[in-house]
């Protein structure tokens, strides 16, 4: 089942007629996400691959009953898009856009508190519940369903970690990138709380980086509030102070926000920290309960085969039924769904 999104989630795409919006709308649809509408002001009435386009989020929501919007619009228009979605009552808004000024996000953040809307991002890859729903830009094919929740401030580093997990036969309940900006709608602690409540998630991998204190707050939360095991990785041990490392939020300022501090805080809170991304799967196996571990090693040959199939064929896109191994993966997902229906 995973968190925030699932097979029933009805998604709209703001900025669907743009280059990125149209490309990713097609990718998401191909993966099986229910893309019910797109929004581009002034382009209402058009269609993209059969997906109806509306002038406003309000119209799109009234017509389709969407419960999630994903935003692919340039930074100058992105906060307007977030406000519009929130005012239309969309409960989950995912903003992929990079480059929104921090001052604008400060206002958005506090405005959203007065609404029912949760914002993921901005400057994030989005989120995926493997086998059910993808909202974002990640390469879907490296993910397999399973017991591990993944939460990260990064994009490609998340793919790297997910890829390592998948190759080791460890699937993901939901993988979510919360964004690399200093001001983001949903932080580590919010996501950890959701994973803690989610029945399918048995363990969590948290991928942090230099800058801010979100990791420190997470460590405290894990120690005080979480029953599920968490393993962490922190990027930026070699980052020099005072320099922004790509992400707007990845900066060591006034000597605080270093990787060493964050690693130390996690270890003190009893959260194991991997030295390299390749170490993560072994660490996850270690922290997972005995029963889960047995499931993984039990299913291991089979899952590893699937993982190998992911490696061999998965990257060619989302053609999920083209190889027997991937068809088997599909089959498993369907069987899984049916089981739950009973």
């Amino acid at each position: 089942m995973g968190i925030l999104i699932g097979e029933k989630t009805k998604v709209i795409v703001q900025g669907i007629t743009g280059r990125d919006g149209s490309f990713h709308a097609r990718q998401m649809k191909e993966y099986g996400t229910k893309i019910v509408a797109g929004v581009t002001p002034g382009r209402g009435g058009e269609k993209l691959d059969g997906i109806p386009v509306f002038d406003s989020v309000k119209e799109a929501r009234e017509t389709t009953g969407t419960d999630c919007s994903v935003i692919y619009v340039p930074p100058a228009f992105a906060t307007d898009a977030i406000y519009e979605a929130a005012d239309a009552g969309v409960p989950l808004v995912v903003c992929i856009t990079e480059g929104i000024p921090a001052a604008d996000m400060l206002k958005v953040y506090h405005y959203l508190k007065t609404t029912q809307t949760r914002l993921i991002g901005p400057n994030c890859p989005g989120l995926i519940t493997p086998g059910a729903c993808k909202v974002g830009i990640m390469p879907a094919s490296i993910h397999i369903p399973g017991p591990v929740g993944v939460v990260s401030r990064s994009g490609t580093l998340t793919y790297e970690v997910v890829y390592n997990l998948t190759l080791a036969g460890i699937g993901q309940s939901t993988a979510i990138g919360i964004g690399g900006d200093p001001i983001i709608g949903t932080d580590f602690v919010d996501v950890l709380a959701l994973f803690e409540k989610d029945r399918e998630t048995k363990a969590v991998v948290l991928i942090g980086e230099i800058g801010g204190t979100d990791e420190e707050r997470s460590a405290a939360f894990i120690k005080a509030e979480m029953s599920k095991p968490v393993a962490a990785f922190i990027a930026g041990q070699t980052a020099p102070p005072g320099k922004r490392m790509g992400h707007a939020g990845a900066i060591i300022s006034g000597g605080s926000g270093t990787a060493a501090e964050k690693i130390e805080t996690f270890r003190k809170a009893g959260v194991p920290v991997a030295s390299t991304p390749a170490e993560i799967p072994a660490l996850v196996e270690k922290v997972l309960g005995k029963s889960e571990r047995r499931k993984i090693s039990f299913a291991s040959p089979k899952l590893k085969k699937k993982a190998a199939a992911v490696k061999m064929d998965g990257f060619k896109g989302n053609h999920r039924k083209k190889t027997p191994a991937l068809a088997a993966k599909e089959g498993r997902t369907v069987a899984h769904k049916n089981r739950r229906k009973k």
């Binding site: 930074p75 921090a102 490609t156 793919y159 801010g212 390299t276």
Partner: protein, 378 residues
Amino acid sequence: MNLHEYQAKELFAQAGIPIPKGKVARTPEEAYQIASELGQTVVVKAQVHTGGRGKAGGVKLAQTPEEAKEKASVILGMDIKGYIVEKVLVTEAADITSEAYLSVTLDRESKMPVIIASPAGGIEIEEVAKQNPEKVLKLRVNPLTGLLPYHSRQVSGFLYADKNIRKQAETILKKLYALYFQADLTLAEINPLVVTKKGELIALDAKVTIDDNALVRHPEFEKYKEFFGAEKIEEEAKKAGLSFVKLDGSIGCIVNGAGLAMATMDLVKFYGGRPANFLDIGGSSNPEKVIAAMKIILADPNVKAICFNIFGGITRGDDVATGIVKAVNTLKPKVPIAIRLVGTNEDLAKEILSKVNLNVFSSMTEVVKKAIELSKAA
């Protein structure tokens, strides 16, 4: 983007925050000129994008124009933490009775702007917070309400006992807060904020950081853009759509994505090497970007091997491979290259790279180890 003190003071002056009189000089003669115009004791201050100027000897008092000229000639050309001083600010020396600290900055935890105030000014606020936390007031302001009169009263009351000085402090805070939003700053700092013998409050120093994401809507800040040493290369990289930070190791890293780029640098160190840089080629994979990235890396004489780590998502492996082949053919690098490339169109990419005899690794660990090995052989 960080501003020089004299530039930050320009913004302060426009916002109506009182500053001492002064002008920027590029030569000792200009410093002489400015000092004689001011007609009093002056301070000659190095203008560099780094802290600790005073400790480095970059701030000097001068009683006469001759002395100002002399001090300026010592300070100009000085190397402060790798920054060469090209400009000095010549400014009135103030007779002061107290030094305080006042700033508005971004509090990431509460997602609010925070006012930081301390009656112990003139030293780094981090130090004060460590030694005497009771002397630091942190006041978060909800950005939806903005600064309220009671915020200002609380801050001025924390800093000063005198009624008249308090009023001045409240006005300065209001102007500083307004400037913070109007100019899209992430830091607006006055350290020290001084009371003169005449009982006037002035901002003796000014430090301002502009939010890079907001620069597009502030064409007026274009003139403040200037770069020293490694910053020049970093700016050049930015124009090519790359995010680059120079380090001092020997393994050149070319990676897609900021998090993965940091993790790659860390892995280089983990296996006993030293990264030469942080470089993120970004999300879309224009082959030209790869060429630009190679050029920047190859310009660094410390680089003994190049390590590519590409995880294709939106970035297409074949595009990156095409870029690498083009770069190899045109730039003819003498340093060895190790490539890790997985993800979208991985097979195509491998095919393209095999034609120029470049081997592709599929794991990050392998490629980093290989790059370190190659760098040692070179």
